[in-house]
């Protein structure tokens, strides 16, 4: 099969699934709907694998021309290179697992077919995003995933208790994403203005050929792209939508808000590496924002009690970590963490989904406990996920985090120390979550306990696969000290096959430093594991109710008051402004101003009507008065 045909099929299969499920889904049985959706994505995955195997440099597939401007052409064209193929592997691979999981998870839902068609649409948009060969196509996907995210977050808009909250969460996500989109749009305008092209390759090549292009413009472009990335990838200041986005069904959280869509920001920055290399100040900004995000969100996660909220903040924190790597210019490292993070975060979310499913929609970890015995497979896979994200040695998260730490240590010791704190916090809240959920006594009441059950095969199978990936994902990019020859496979793969990354080489620490770093990291992670074991397992230290929290805990539980601050600083002024313009400016001043003109005419008319009193003598008087005026005017005219 030729390359372009393969690509088109990869793209169109999810779209086909969307169309079939969307139009005929209502008539088909649930099993069939789920299978169609899953098979569509899975076939895409297989074909993407063939693309991966046959990958040979960068190839462009042009479909059709969208806009034919005097100065530039914008094509619907797609780019096959290491980066895009790798991303599409993650998307379709994880995507098909999550589809499989959803068959079981959503089995009781009314909008079953709608859910699957939205999921397929999402996969399609995400593929457009990563496969596009220019920023315009990327923007199509970019907004498309935002749209799907909105649809899926507010999926349960009819829920009796949380319907309104769900739809509001969706709206918040969409609006915050839109702010980022606005940034991306501005960046695109600037790019078009500077290069008369939006193709990655053309921009990159003209930059390489012509390095003295205005650096101010580069800074502006990079800043705009970064704003877009903060919106999509939930970084400070636009991160508050992601925890709220957990209102969507759990597979959605796993697919969109952990594994794929939120990494679009990372993808954008990696893709635009050549731009960021020319704007060092923005790179520093990326670093600082990443550091702040990873630390603050890890802190917030410490005292959250909703199982999905904890994972959401953890996602934000991990994304921050990736941005730190980007800030150091270590693009492949960031992408490596994207990959492992996709594995273990999808696993954790699906695990939490399994828990929630088993617990009959209960998400508060204060009401769980002792689930290890009731849900053994879920428990085991969740444990693996926890160990992976906490950086327990030899799990995938360990390697990817270690790479980032190594970058930090090399560049900036302060950044490194902050990262150590953030990573330690990650381990703490993850083990807190794990122990509170799966160990100790069941706290949800006997009634619920009897109903708790292990999930079916369609749900546990993806868990198992993801667990295996989480354990062994690190092999992709083993550091030099294990296998001399095949070390840094992923680094090499990516930097050889992606434009702009050829010249950027990640720093690799020397043997001693690397091993010291690893030992330190392992010690910290294991130490926290042991500490958490004692605190939460042995002592049975439970999550406190909201009233008993100490001051820092309160700060963490209330999410550092970000939402309140935004409400106070942005939302309320906007509402006030809207009220002001709507009620005062528009009605009082403008509308009444128009009325005032009309009234003025009316009043003048009334006044002059009164003048026409009907009394002849007054008419006569005015007549003579006018006569006098006329003659006086005549006199003046003569005499002047």
């Amino acid at each position: 099969m030729p390359l372009d045909l393969t690509l088109i099929i990869v793209l169109s299969l999810p779209l086909l699934g969307f169309a079939v499920n969307g139009i005929f889904g209502k008539m088909l049985s649930k099993k069939l709907v789920g299978s169609i959706a899953t098979i569509a994505v899975f076939t895409s995955f297989i074909l993407a694998t063939t693309l991966f195997v046959r990958l040979d440099g960068t190839q462009i597939v042009k479909l059709f021309n969208i806009v034919d401007h005097d100065n530039f052409k914008i094509n619907a064209s797609f780019q096959i290179d290491a980066l895009s193929v790798w991303m599409s592997l993650i998307i379709t691979g994880i995507g098909s697992l999550i589809h499989l999981f959803s068959i079981g998870y959503m089995s009781n839902d009314e909008g079953y077919y709608k859910f699957f068609s939205y999921l397929n649409l999402f996969i399609f948009s995400m593929l457009i995003l990563v496969l596009g060969s220019n920023y315009f196509v990327l923007f199509f996907g970019w907004e498309g995933v935002g749209l799907c995210s909105y649809l899926l977050i507010s999926f349960h808009y009819n829920d009796k208790h949380k319907g309104v909250a769900n739809s509001l969460a969706g709206r918040k996500a969409f609006i915050m994403n839109r702010i980022g989109d606005g940034g991306l749009l501005l960046g695109l305008f600037m790019l078009l203005g500077q290069f008369n092209s939006l193709e990655y390759l053309e921009i990159g090549q003209s930059l390489a050929a012509n390095t003295h292009l205005g650096s101010g413009a580069m800074v502006f472009i990079a800043l705009c792209l970064f704003i877009a990335a903060t919106g999509k990838s939930a970084q400070i200041p636009l991160f508050t939508w992601l925890p709220d986005a957990m209102a969507g069904p759990t597979p959605v959280s796993a697919l969109i808000h952990a594994a794929t869509m939120v990494t679009a920001g990372i993808y954008l920055l990696v893709r635009s590496n050549f731009l960021f290399e020319l704007a060092p100040s923005i790179k520093d900004l990326v670093l600082y924002i990443g550091l702040a995000t990873t630390l603050l969100s890890a802190f917030i996660a410490l005292r959250q009690n909703d199982i999905k909220k904890i994972l959401a903040y953890s996602t934000v924190s991990q994304l921050g970590l990736m941005f730190v790597a980007l800030g150091f210019g270590a693009y492949s490292v960031a992408l490596f963490h994207v990959t492992t993070h996709a594995f273990f975060k999808a696993l954790l979310f699906l695990g939490s989904g399994s828990v929630i499913h088993g617990m009959h929609e209960e998400q508060d970890i204060r009401k769980m406990g002792g689930l290890a015995k009731l849900m053994p497979i879920t428990h085991f896979t969740f444990l693996i996920g926890t160990m992976a994200i906490s950086g327990i040695p030899l799990f995938s998260g360990f390697f990817s985090k270690d790479e980032i730490m190594a970058q930090a240590l090399h560049h900036n010791i302060w950044a490194y120390s902050i990262l150590v704190v953030a990573v330690s916090l990650t381990a703490i809240y993850m083990f807190r979550l794990y122990f509170l959920t799966f160990h100790g006594n069941f706290r949800g009441g006997e009634n619920l306990k009897s109903k708790v059950h292990e999930s079916g095969l369609s749900m546990t199978l993806p868990l198992a696969i993801l667990a295996i990936l989480s354990v062994f994902g690190g092999i992709l990019n083993l550091p030099g000290l294990f296998f001399k020859g095949s070390a840094h496979w992923f680094d090499n793969y990516l930097s050889q096959g992606t434009f702009g990354l050829e010249h950027i080489h990640n720093v690799h620490l020397d043997f001693n430093a690397a091993i010291q770093l690893m030992i330190f990291a392992s010690t910290v992670a294991l130490g926290i594991l042991v500490w958490a074991y004692f605190v939460y397992f042995k002592k049975g230290n439970l999550a406190k109710s909201d009233l008993e929290l100490s001051s820092w805990e309160k700060l963490s539980a209330s999410k550092l008051y970000f939402d309140e601050a935004y409400n106070y600083l942005l939302v309320n002024p906007l509402i006030k402004l809207s009220d002001f313009t709507g009620k005062i400016l528009d009605i009082k001043i403008l509308r009444n101003g128009v009325y005032a003109i009309a009234d003025g005419v009316l009043n003048t008319a009334n006044l002059s009507r009164r003048w026409q009193s009907g009394f002849l003598s007054s008419y006569l008087f005015w007549m003579i008065f006018g006569l006098i005026l006329f003659i006086a005017f005549y006199i003046l005219k003569i005499s002047i």
Partner: protein, 466 residues
């Protein structure tokens, strides 16, 4: 030529025909004009410039590709209005059908006439039917709002009449081509004033920021078919006039003088409309202000006088018609079934009417101009054009993305989601689904292949911009 006269004939037929057949007559007649225009466009070469000389000196017609786009748009809008209101009371009235066709005749005249005085005549001709429609079928409690609309537009038109006369006096020309060729640079500041007269008329019609106060109230009180006609096609006359007549003719001192004031007003309107829409309670009012916001962008783009930008402005004009019909139709469906469009009194419709919820959502996203829809292409290149000229203005224009998302999602979610307040809600009828589907298809088609519009109008636009 027959194309232009068709609606007039239908209008007369509608006066005579028995009222029981009125629905069908309206639908079939409007479909006829649409089909006729599509057939004739397939024989049309976009580079051509056909002239119809009737021997009457003051009124002469011509057809170019821009005119064709507008003619098809007009016919399509009327067809969709008739189709979407097929089950409404209003369509059954002889007066409505006849007046609507009369208005269509006026609109077609505006879009095809080749003399400046004819332009004014047809411009005014459209005002009378819509006024009568609003007067007979609207729910204006006091006539003040309606009078405001009427006087406002009439006042603007008078300013235009003064300018038309002035222009004819100064140049001694009245056909489009002769006016284009006429050298207005010699008259200096008089050109600025003449253009100001036109701009005032257009600013009222579009409407631009301080002249918009008739809009929201009129839209809210008008019958839904009237609102559709007003926003989907009547406002386009002003944009068309700007694009085809005023800007090319006054190109030079006058356009340089007015460019930034008008763009500033448009930008204010963009943000102003969006900000007001965020908090308004009435669905129709929200859409009216949204329309203010959208049209501001088109106006600003047109004022840049760049032929490429103009192409996308035409795309956006088409898109705005799609959005306006769709959204006001959704509001109309709610109003017709529940007798209210106040979003505080609505809720949970999605549960009762899933099909309506779906199509309304599609239209909402089209109006949010997400990619794959025509709105995206139009907005993208219009904002880009503004951005290229003035970075800060471009950034301001970009805020519509965010503000638009805020008010549109609110307008969609409040009635559709949440606790069900209205249990009885008849889901969509076939005619309504057909309209929604046609609109969505058109939006997506133009979103993926805007070339079919841009290339088609390119020739006549190159002619209009030097």
């Amino acid at each position: 030529m027959i194309l232009i006269l068709l609606p007039l004939i239908f209008s007369i037929i509608a006066w005579i025909a028995p009222s029981s057949t009125m629905r069908l007559i309206g639908l079939i007649a409007s479909a006829c004009s649409l089909v006729a225009s599509i057939i004739s466009v397939s024989f049309f070469n976009p580079t051509e410039h056909v002239l119809f000389d009737l021997g009457v000196q003051l009124v002469r017609f011509s057809m170019d590709s821009l005119g064709y786009i507008m003619v098809i748009l007009t016919n399509a809008v009327f067809f969709l209005v008739f189709l979407s209101n097929y089950y409404n009371q209003i369509i059954g009235h002889r007066r409505f059908t006849a007046l609507a066709f009369l208005m269509q005749f006026g609109l077609l005249g505006v879009f095809t006439v080749n003399t400046i005085l004819g332009f004014y005549l047809f411009w005014e001709l459209t005002l009378i039917p819509i006024f009568m429609i609003l007067y007979w079928f609207g729910s204006f409690e006091n006539s003040r709002v309606l009078m405001k609309f009427f006087l406002y537009t009439l006042f603007g038109s008078l300013a235009m009449l003064v300018s038309v006369i002035g222009l004819m006096q100064i140049t001694h020309q009245q056909t489009y081509d002769a006016l284009l060729a006429a050298d207005l640079s010699t008259i200096g500041n008089a050109g600025i004033w003449l253009m100001g007269g036109f701009l005032l008329a257009f600013a009222v019609k579009i409407p631009l920021f301080p002249f918009h106060t008739w809009q929201a109230q009129t839209y809210t009180k008008a019958p839904i078919a009237g609102t559709m006609l007003l926003s989907a096609i009547m406002l386009k006359m002003a944009l068309f006039g700007l694009l085809k007549w005023v800007l090319p003719i006054f190109d030079g001192i006058a356009t340089d003088f007015w460019r930034w004031p008008i763009i500033t007003l448009s930008l204010i309107g963009i943000i102003y409309g969006a900000v007001i829409a965020i908090r308004h309670q009435n669905l129709k009012t929200i859409f009216a202000y949204a329309s203010l916001s959208h049209l501001g962008l088109i106006t600003a783009g047109l004022m840049l006088q760049n032929s490429q930008t103009n192409e996308f402005a035409v795309v956006q004009i088409v898109n705005h018609s799609i959005v306006a019909i769709g959204l006001f139709m959704a509001a109309g469906i709610i109003e017709q079934r529940l007798k209210t469009t106040n979003i505080n009194e609505l809720g949970g419709i999605a549960k009762v009417a899933p099909r309506f919820a779906f199509w309304f959502a599609v239209l909402t996203f089209i109006s949010l101009s997400v990619p794959f829809t025509s709105g995206f292409i139009g907005e993208f290149f219009l904002i880009k054009a503004i951005f290229d000229v003035h970075v800060f203005s471009g950034i301001l224009a970009c805020t519509t993305l965010v503000l638009g998302a805020i008010y549109m999602l609110r307008a969609y979610q409040a009635p559709m989601f949440g606790p069900t307040k209205n249990e009885k809600f008849l889901d969509l009828r076939w005619s309504e689904i057909a309209v929604f589907a046609l609109l969505s298809l058109a939006a997506i088609y133009f979103g993926l292949a805007p070339k079919c519009i841009t290339d088609f109008v390119a020739h006549s636009l190159i002619q209009t911009t030097h």
